[in-house]
């Protein structure tokens, strides 16, 4: 639904506003690298603007800090209504390595609602382009939550009910549950 909404609302172009709320400038440089001719995102209609009032998308870098949380919230509220928020970098996604520092509130989503996450420290320019392409609907997202389970516990003493005795031969059936 969000995808269809995106395609309808932002059919022509995304104008992005680039907000750093206390990051180390690494993600800033990668975002600016996206706008260079190598990863020319203006062919998709993405353009960097200087004011949040002109922007459709806010690109957040850096964690939400005590000193900048208010300004970040004001920048978000200044944007016109169909708006998207991208959290770029591991600081904006989860709070960064200094997540438990006194001046860091945490991830950006503690201050403003986030629509898309691009993890990485810093994310490659390709990763940022990929995240924006996922948001616009050009490509599908690749990641999914993974859950491994060691199902085959080959120890009969933990599953005595599964043992079947036939004379000297003991048949053991592998269980599907813990």
């Amino acid at each position: 639904m969000l995808k269809n909404l995106c395609q309808k609302m932002f059919g022509r172009s995304l104008w992005v506003y680039h907000a750093n709320s206390g990051g180390c400038n690494g993600c800033d440089i990668e975002v600016l690298n996206v706008l260079t001719p190598y990863y020319d995102v203006e062919r998709f209609g993405i353009k960097l603007v200087g004011s949040p009032r002109h922007a459709d998308v806010i690109l957040c870098q850096g964690p939400a800090m005590r000193s900048t949380a208010k300004a970040l919230k004001r920048a978000y509220e200044a944007m016109p209504s169909p708006k998207l928020v991208f959290a770029i970098g591991s600081c904006a996604c989860g709070g960064g390595v200094w997540f438990d520092s006194y001046s860091v509130i945490g991830p950006v989503e503690k201050v403003i609602p986030v629509n898309y996450y691009i993890p990485g420290c810093p994310p490659r320019p390709e990763a940022i382009v990929y995240g924006v392409a996922v948001a616009v609907g050009l490509v599908d997202k690749k990641t999914a939550p993974v859950k491994f389970k060691q199902l085959e516990y080959p120890v009969p003493k933990y599953h005595p009910s599964e043992l079947k005795g036939e004379g000297d031969l003991v048949i053991y059936e592998k269980t599907e549950h813990i």
Partner: protein, 175 residues
């Protein structure tokens, strides 16, 4: 003059060709030593929780819901892909993959959960440990639970002849 300079610039630009990479439509190769998202291998993991202890971002969590099962959770929100967990893992169960296209709309998409079976001592109820320190050195590092008898896999089958070293020392001491 200005027209000529513009024409010259046009010629230079035509000669330079196209610099833009066809990225989102065509995959881009990464350098071979690139560290992307860590991938956990549950079949190799022994549940030592060394990765959880050494993660600078504290993104690997360990839960012990019961005696035999240990849950290792990698959340990956603030992971900086430093590769310390992969360096430290004694069983090489963590590999730093070349995945970097992790842009999602839900942060839980990056998480990985491992349910690890920890075999325990029947007497004390704690996790397995080698009989002696010398035996531990010889061991391969993971438990092998045989159907007939629980045992360990040894690293090599070659042993020193008995009392060879101590004999040498005795000779030196006597001399």
């Amino acid at each position: 003059m200005s027209v000529m300079s513009k024409l010259k610039e046009t010629l230079i630009c035509l000669g330079a060709g196209r610099a833009t990479l066809p990225y989102p439509f065509k995959a881009e190769p990464v350098p071979p030593n690139f560290r992307g998202r860590p991938i956990f291998d549950s079949t190799k993991c022994i549940g030592c929780a060394g990765c959880a202890n050494n993660c600078p971002a504290r993104e690997i969590l360990v839960f012990d819901p019961c005696q035999e099962v240990r849950i290792v959770k990698y959340l990956g929100r603030r992971c900086t892909y430093c590769g310390r967990c992969a360096d430290l893992c004694p069983e090489k169960a963590i590999t730093m993959s070349h995945e970097f296209e992790n842009g999602t709309n839900a942060i839980t998409d990056i998480s990985q959960t491992l349910d690890i079976f920890m075999s325990t001592c029947q007497r004390c109820g704690r996790c397995f440990k080698g009989a002696e320190l010398m035996d531990e050195l010889k061991m391969k590092g993971y438990r092998f639970d045989d159907l007939q008898n629980d045992r360990w896999i040894f690293r090599s089958q070659a042993y020193l002849e008995g009392d060879q070293v101590t004999d040498d020392i005795k000779i030196e001491l006597e001399g």
